[in-house]
Amino acid sequence: MIRGADDHLTIFERSRPGRRAFVAPAVGVPERPLDELIPPALRRAEPPRLPEVSEPEIVRHFNRLSQRNFDLDTGFYPLGSCTMKHNPKLHERVAALPGHAQLHPLQDPARAQGALELMWRLQAALAEIAGLPHVSLQPSAGSHGELAGVLLTQAYHEDRGERRTKVLTPDTAHGTNPATVTMAGYELVKLGTDRHGNVDLDDLRAKVDGDVACLMLTNPSTLGLFETGIEEIAAVVHEVGATLYYDGANLNAIMGITRPGDMGFDIVHFNLHKSFTQPHGGGGPGAGPIAVSDRIEPFLPRPQVIRRTSQGNGSEPAYDLDYERPKSIGRLRGFQGNYGVFVRSYAYIRSLGAPGLREVSEVAVLNANYLLARLRQEGVVEYLPAAHERLCMHEFVLSGGPMKRELGIRTLDLAKRLLDHGVHPPTVYFPLIVDEALLVEPTETETKETLDRFAGVIAEILREARNDPEVARNAPYTTPVRRLDEAAAARRPVVRQPL
């Protein structure tokens, strides 16, 4: 395999009949004819056409593929709402310990005490951070946590004999919020945003009523702003007996500083792959534990990790899985959740402790506000004004509207041009309510030098566009491939290799 020469080939195109990487161990037992064991009628005629390649070729193929990715461990990745912070290497080491990595999920709890204790301790830590007493680690990701949250709300209302039909989300909400509402069988009601970037309280008051089951909110919002009216919002929602759901994707801004539970939220989800350093893996794995208030607790998914206070008879293990939860919404998935993610997040919490976690949020907010200030200094805000003139939290939104009108390049062009400068673009065109939005989240693990340089790069691209907008419009130039035709891909989808 030669670098560059054949990078476009798929592993299937590298296949040659007869090559192999796998050597089978000897069967080692008496063999009866396969037809006696599994009748031909149940068997497939042809083996699946998997690639035939040697180990060296597999390694080169995937290593070379990897070199066509931009990654956090080699460059700045200010992807708003995703908290692309450093993933400590220790976490990979501890997660790989055989006692964690090779533990079967159906092992007798008495023989998995280390794992259950770790989960129990993680639950306790997350509860303290959220300010809500009860935690389920089961959901597999944020959106799964949202689904759990809405189902919990439903179970809560039904338990009280109510059948509510509507769920409120602000128009700034992340797409998973409305999608979850529909998926859980509710009708979505959208709330407006006022000119300060807060939830429009009048709109809320107008739309809230006895049919509303829940309000889903992110705080700080996806605008990177803290909902100053949160207390009133909570009051209004609780007024009608609805629940208040906290989308924890932005928790990185407030750890140890303020707590959703104290704000009046009933249910919180965490994105352990954001605030708690599970590597993002190109789109997972993640984990979306939820923390809830007392009134929601009875409905938490099955099973729950519990600790036996009654250490009376030694026969019972100290930590156990509790399936006897009559009011539970039931299971959301198999087994006990993404344990491997829990190990990493627990290690992170132990490494930083209370003061460290607070520093994380302080620096996350400091870095964001500093970067915004530097962009102002660079004069960038003339074309890329902040969507709201306020202090931001851990991230902020710029509007590419003026840039588009005055320089003739769109936010997309700016993003693509950033690629040529070795920077991963911020989140673009989200939140939807901001024209040509750019959502920038530097995170706490970046240096001041990096932020300074990033501000300089943005300024340089705008200067360049003033002279010649075509440069940005046709960017990128230095990437493994250039702009790709997504429309064609969607028109005639080719989603597998023809063999």
């Binding site: 069967v27 990654d71 912070k85 990595a101 992340h174 529909t182 198999g334 989808p493």
Partner: protein, 454 residues
Amino acid sequence: MTQYTSVTDDDRRQMLEAIGVSSVEDLFADIPARLRLARPLALDPGLSEQEVYAELRELAERNVSTDAELSFLGAGMYDHYIPALIDSILQRSEFLTPYTPYQPEVSQGTLQAMFEYQTAISELTGLPVSNASVYEGPSAVAAAGYLAKLEKGRRRFVVSRGVHPHAREALATLARAWDMEVEEAPLIDGLTRLPDLDEDVSAVVVQQPNFLGAVEDLEPLAEAAHRSGALAICACDPLPLALLRPPGECGFDIAVGEGQTLGNRLDFGGPSFGFFAATQELIRRVPGRIAGETRDVDGRRGFVLTLQTREQHIRREKATSNICTAQALNALAGVIYLTWLGRQGIVDLVTLLVHRTAHARQRLGAVPGISAVHEQPVVREFAVNLDAPVDRVLARCREQGINPGYPLGHDYPELPNGLLVAITEQRSRQDIDRLAGGLGAAVAAERQNVEAPA
């Protein structure tokens, strides 16, 4: 300053000055004072790396892993050997640390790997469309149910009792929210017996091989579903599909399942991945990411996330699912594993499993007090009944470092002393003999106790 942050006192001073505030505290001015946490979090202070490592190691050592005992546990996750090259690739930061490939120009590695993964899943399931992964097995069954609900809008699911209990429960959890009923189809002689299906069924769900290890005859099941206008959904373990007729070929509309068996660790249950494959007709209802092939402005081949109008970030409340972050890295492990096995290797491996499992089944069948639950063909797992209290028998075996399998009583009250035994390529003939001996002795001992209670 922490080991992961870089703001020195000097930096902080300059930064605050640039911002125009006098303290970090000022940055949180928007947070009502009443809501500020007046105390530190009630968590211990931070530890050094070596201390955290020592603590996590201590916790790990209080778990009995498949390294530390002779384990025949399966029931959805299996102790297969994972080749070293998988981790060497997964640990490359270029795969480990980026997020969803929103910027395809700098994400071709992830996108092409997804495309290759989709191709491999399509080959295994015999269905033309695969997405790039969902969370894991049981929730994948629920996701398939949601697709069926959107597609058919009928009020009932018919689910085989041979479907993994966790999957049945995950589907039931959502069905409740959708005001839908879940009707269970019984297992007769270990195989699914469908009831008469009327017009109100959105989908029929079966599992291959089923939870008791039996290989189902899929084609008639798909036909029955289709006769009633329902979708046919097959939950399957991808590895046995190396030998078994693929669900797509048998007429199933959707195949989903747990991907752990494809090169992913046990990890006490996760993270692994779920796969989701479907017919061409259903492509615009499939949940989650799908990678597609296209070209760049210079005509070079490239890959992008495609059909995104299905997804939450575009369609929001009209999306076909709420899934966002899925299991990309685990699916990558899956396609590397399948490539490592290769066309011949996967057949060699599964054939080995069939023979070793048949041997184990025969050895246990010959033990007094152990009887088969069914006589159907199996691949790498089978169910037996013990003529003694299963929990006490297991306790005895564990004392000898043997973990004979998963007790079925909790999920199948009709099999109070049932045991599900899984055989992977890491269990040798000697291991199987040890199992037969140990289990036999334990059963014998417990039967005596029962006959003559002290």
